[in-house]
């Protein structure tokens, strides 16, 4: 039982990261029906930007103080990820807005390889794993026999806060309404006076910011990153988004948590850690076969 609870906690923490990244996939899909396969790399770039801030900008005397380090590392990650995402949107996707859907998809894969290679070749030491600071030090917390690292607890709290903030923003704010309108009917949104190009930019920026936070969290938890984390992180978050129902924001969060828990449980009880990545792909295939609209997605009816 204790082991089960422990895996549940591990799964939820893991799922929080997937959920944060999945939000970017699902929001962009909701607005322009594009699977932005470069989004995993935005997450990876965020992690490296955070690390660069820590290693090359912060003076050593400050590195021990998490109250200074964390905000600055996250800020650097967010700024760089958002900038990269917006450049990709502006010069990669926007010229292809009216092109067949395969064209931006191929662009996304190209951008993905480009960003991986950029980091591999030009970030010092990034040809192999580079170590990432834990930032939040201190012993693990014990709760009824379940162990949780301080970093993990922090990650969970931040992820949940961001998810609630995002939902509130989209449900209640004027801009959030404009985002929903654009995703439901872009041309009619323009007739309402909504600048849909700006909404698309904002969507990419929000997704990138969340992925950047996830990137820093990932680094802190595993105390190392490499240029390939975007691929696996991206595919798993994409799975989470599909599982929840692509285009559905609540679904992306739910999908993230479900996938995280499934992965933790199968690792513990079924397959062992050598096969831990298999679970995600089994889930992806199962969802695509049995419930392609996802847990919360609506069946997309072809309308006349």
């Amino acid at each position: 039982m204790q082991q089960f609870l422990q895996q549940l906690v591990n799964g939820v923490v893991l799922g929080a990261t997937y959920g944060l990244i999945a939000l970017g996939y699902t929001m962009v899909y909701g607005i322009i029906q594009l699977i932005n396969f470069a989004h995993g790399e935005i997450f990876m770039v965020g992690a490296f930007a955070g690390l660069a801030m820590y290693s090359y900008v912060l003076p050593e005397s400050m590195q021990g103080n998490p109250f200074i380090v964390l905000p600055l590392v996250i800020l650097a990650a967010v700024i760089v990820s958002v900038t990269v995402a917006l450049l990709v949107e502006r010069y990669g996707y926007r010229p292809l807005r009216r092109a067949p859907r395969l064209a931006p998809l191929i662009t996304a894969i190209g951008v993905s390889i480009f960003l991986q290679e950029l980091v591999r070749l030009f970030y010092p030491g990034a040809r192999s794993q580079v170590s990432f600071p834990r930032i939040i030090e201190g012993p693990n917390l014990e709760l009824g026999g379940v162990t949780i690292a301080r970093t993990s607890l922090f990650l969970l709290v931040v992820a949940l806060a961001l998810m609630v903030a995002l939902q509130t923003f989209i449900r209640t704010s004027r801009t959030g309404k404009a985002m929903r309108a654009t995703s439901q009917d872009a041309d009619t949104a323009r007739l309402m006076g909504i600048n849909t190009d700006r909404i698309i930019v904002l969507t990419f920026a929000l997704g990138a910011a969340l992925a950047a936070v996830a990137g820093v969290m990932q680094g802190m938890r595993f105390v190392s990153i490499d240029f390939r984390i975007g691929f696996l992180g991206g595919v798993k978050a994409f799975t989470a988004a599909v599982l929840g129902g692509i285009g559905n924001i609540t679904g992306a969060m739910l999908g993230g948590f479900v996938l995280g828990i499934v992965e933790a449980m199968t690792t513990q009880y079924l397959l062992g850690s050598a096969y831990k990545d298999v679970a995600a792909f089994v889930v992806l295939i199962a969802v695509l076969v049995f419930r392609p609209q996802g847990l919360l997605g609506e069946r997309v009816a072809v309308r006349a």
Binding site: K177, A181, A189, M192
Partner: protein, 236 residues
């Protein structure tokens, strides 16, 4: 108020609108009639900025608007209730109407007044404020689309096929509302497949065939025109 000069619009190499000119004066109802594919909807979509003309000019309130993006055009007071209603299906009636006022910069009080006025025009919507628009009937969706367009407090209201696909009773109600808007002095550019009703309301009317205006006149003139009666009013 609105002047369209030699407007041409193409989808790729296919020209759908081949040089159309007409004007709309303040307080007028102007209607475009014609068969499917004649270019009526294309014309309206170009006026509201969803399509870019290949040639020609659109002058609204003395200023050219044909190269402005759609979201700028509605801010200048040209509202478009599109063909097929296009309410935001997963948003409530209230949210749809809020979005209708998205372009406005004036105060919440004025918007609230217009909100009440819109709901007075379509009392059914008042009871359905919290209902999701996709679950409304076709006629109710049409009312919502019109109310939403009115929420921008337009100087010129473009209605594209407001009665299309509705039951005869609902069609009567929608057309009666258009008549009421006219009586209130709203300037309207109307595209309507019910030519009889449209011509009955119109101060000025144009018949469009394959992208060109082939006949113009006042509503009563066209109602009395033999070729119009044959082609669009179903008379032998």
């Amino acid at each position: 108020m609105l002047e369209v000069r030699d407007l041409r619009v193409a989808y790729g190499k296919i020209e759908a609108v081949k040089g159309i000119s007409f004007t709309v004066d303040p307080g007028q109802v102007v209607t475009l009639i014609g068969g499917n594919g004649a270019g009526k909807t294309t014309t309206l979509r170009t006026l509201s900025g969803l399509l870019t003309p290949t040639a020609g000019e659109v002058i609204f309130e003395g200023e050219p608007i044909h190269s402005l993006p759609a979201h700028e055009i509605v801010r200048r007071g040209l509202a478009h209730s599109p063909e097929g209603r296009h309410v935001f299906p997963r948003m409530t009636v209230q949210e749809n109407l809020d979005l209708g006022a998205f372009s406005r910069k004036d105060g919440a009080k004025d918007i609230a007044e217009d909100f009440d006025r819109s709901l007075d025009l379509f009392p059914v919507l008042r009871d359905r404020r919290t209902q999701v628009a996709g679950t409304l009937s076709g006629g109710e969706q049409q009312m919502l689309a019109m109310a939403r367009a009115l929420m921008s407090r337009p100087r010129l209201l473009m209605l594209d096929e407001p009665s299309m696909g509705l039951s005869p009773i609902m069609m009567q109600r929608i057309l009666a509302t258009v008549a009421e808007l006219k009586a209130r002095g709203t300037t309207i550019l109307l595209v309507e497949q019910n030519a009889q009703a449209a011509l009955g309301l119109a101060d000025s009317a144009h018949v469009i065939e394959t992208g060109r205006i082939v006949l113009s006149g006042t509503g009563p003139e066209l109602l009395g025109n033999d070729s119009v009666r044959k082609a669009y009013l179903g008379e032998e």
